[in-house]
Symmetry: C2
Subunit: 341 residues, 2 copies
């Protein structure tokens, strides 16, 4: 019987705070009963929320603090004011002290990354951390990284991203040799950034048994699911992620308004409402919630700030999987092999 | 009575070649009878296509060549092999010689840009050209640039992009003072590229009467239509454009498959088919076809390679508007004012 997965929750992060965090934990616990929680936040707020949920209460420990990092704090401010005492810091600290296997927060991304980097430090062989996102595609799901941890990337960092993303795909999708592509502009032509080309050469020559480098991919390949892992520098990756979110919302809005415009459309909507629900479900950002911080000496997951309980539960599930299937050990293995080459 | 708009067409570019180009010209001519065409391509192919369209025949002049730039030619290859004699080069050359006001090609983007840059040269005050795209949004349409002409941008180039995009918005959307945003990651936090921050400061301090700089925008603001002009460096811009295309296709595919899965959904689809058609229409990439090359001594428009006649006609319409409303003169004015500051 393996050990329980121990999850530290920042119960003061996100737009909705403790209520969503506690209910999210409750939902995730039903799916993974072998979980324990450290909930960091205001005890007077958390106690009554837990009192209603005895199964969760039994596996949850409260660590009290009143200090929250604000959603609009700058990372440097958050680090200065929130170190040692904020719920965000203390969640990361639980991982640092090995009291928890993973920390999850719906708080301010920049502050969370700054604290995680400062406190956990990067893994041996990794200079800069990354944030990986799960992306729904026509084939299922892909991993896209970096979606905003680090701006700019040299060839070596892009290769590191390929290794970390590859390890994550092996763990999450249970693949022996996930396919990896480098995001670029123009597939046939000799164009694109010098560092992307150089990373392509390194990955091609490495001919690894644990990942299948397929070459350059373009923006429209992400949604097609052309590869399991899409590697890019953090600025372009963040733009891609947000642009896709924006486009999905725009289309949903067009549909909503078109389906309300005429009686015939409204009737059609009623007949097809299950089909619409299935599509909504497929694109539901709550189902794929959670940016995984990679390259640190400890696992940290960022939930979307606006996530509801179902969305926060998805972030917890993701953290559970990463721990259960030993993501960090897999990354170390791949980096070790990489370093030996 | 103003002069006719004279349009040079590369009749050998794109995936479909002359048939689409000729029919596209025919469609556009119905909308703008004050147009003349120079069609550059194989005379034996073009003559029979024009023979069926007497109104078009009356305003079209054929310039014969057999040499086409291939869709997969590298820009340097295309320039070496296709200079002076290819249909693409000759269309640009017609603009250079003032035989035409704008050149339109559905050929290979890299080759078209390389030839246009080489032959037309950049405008005084502009170091590097850009490609601007029209982007359908929840508010109507926005202009996004650069979507792939130039990789990397210093603050000055970003400011130039703002001027050129602003001039285009004034012309196309008939706005006195279009809103302009710089694409960045994270609005509140002090993060993002140094050059983006610096460009923001310059634009803020300029406090121009002909454009309204509103600050940073994120990827999801593009589809919302938060600003009339979204300014970004060409790598991220191209990734954003392709990612949005991919997401739109992905959602269309989800919908198509969901609407076919059950009888009830199929019935619903029948009732709502006009609503679906309206949404398809709104997102129809053919309606907003055409990347405008900005910053050169001459107008060049790139049509999507896969465009059908309706799509190619949209690119011609765009070229017509740019000429009729004197885009280049407007850009020069804005740059002049910019240089005087």
């Amino acid at each position: 019987m393996p050990q329980n997965v121990r999850i530290a929750l920042d119960a003061m992060g996100g737009d909705h705070g403790a209520a969503v965090v506690v209910e999210g934990a409750n939902i995730s616990l039903e799916r993974h009963p072998d979980t324990e929680f450290v909930m960091i936040g205001s005890r007077p707020t958390l106690e009554p929320l837990l009192a209603d949920r005895p199964a969760l209460r039994a596996v949850a420990r409260i660590v009290h603090t009143d200090v929250a990092v604000k959603m609009d704090d700058k990372p440097s401010q958050a680090l200065r004011r929130g170190r040692w005492k904020s719920s965000m810091w203390m969640a990361i600290d639980a991982v640092k002290k090995a009291d928890a296997d993973v920390a999850i927060s719906a708080g301010n991304t920049g502050a969370l990354m700054a604290m995680a980097k400062f406190h956990l430090k990067t893994m041996v062989g990794i200079d800069r951390p990354a944030i990986a996102a799960l992306w729904p595609t026509l084939r299922g799901e892909s991993i896209v990284l970096d979606v905003g941890a680090t701006i700019g990337a040299d060839a070596r960092h892009l290769v590191d991203l390929a290794m970390m993303g590859g390890a994550m795909a092996r763990v999450l999708f249970d693949l022996e040799r996930p396919t990896v592509g480098l995001l670029n502009i123009g597939v046939e032509e000799v164009k694109g950034l010098e560092e992307v080309r150089e990373a392509g050469l390194i990955l091609r020559q490495a001919a690894r048994s644990d990942l299948d480098y397929v070459g350059f991919v373009e923006g429209d390949d992400i949604g097609k699911g052309t590869v399991d892992v899409v590697v890019t520098e953090g600025f372009a990756g963040n733009i891609a992620l947000k642009t896709a979110e924006g486009t999905a919302k725009q289309l949903a809005e067009y549909l909503r308004s078109a389906m309300n415009r005429t009686l015939s459309a409204r009737i059609g909507f009623l007949f097809a409402r299950k089909a619409f629900a299935a599509v909504r479900d497929k694109m539901d950002p709550r189902k794929v919630n959670g940016g995984v911080f990679l390259g640190l000496n400890g696992l940290v997951i960022k939930s979307h700030g606006a996530a509801d309980a179902e969305g926060f539960a998805a972030a917890i599930d993701l953290g559970y999987d990463m721990v259960r299937y030993k993501l960090r050990a897999r990354i170390s293995e791949m980096l070790g092999q990489h370093a030996d080459e």
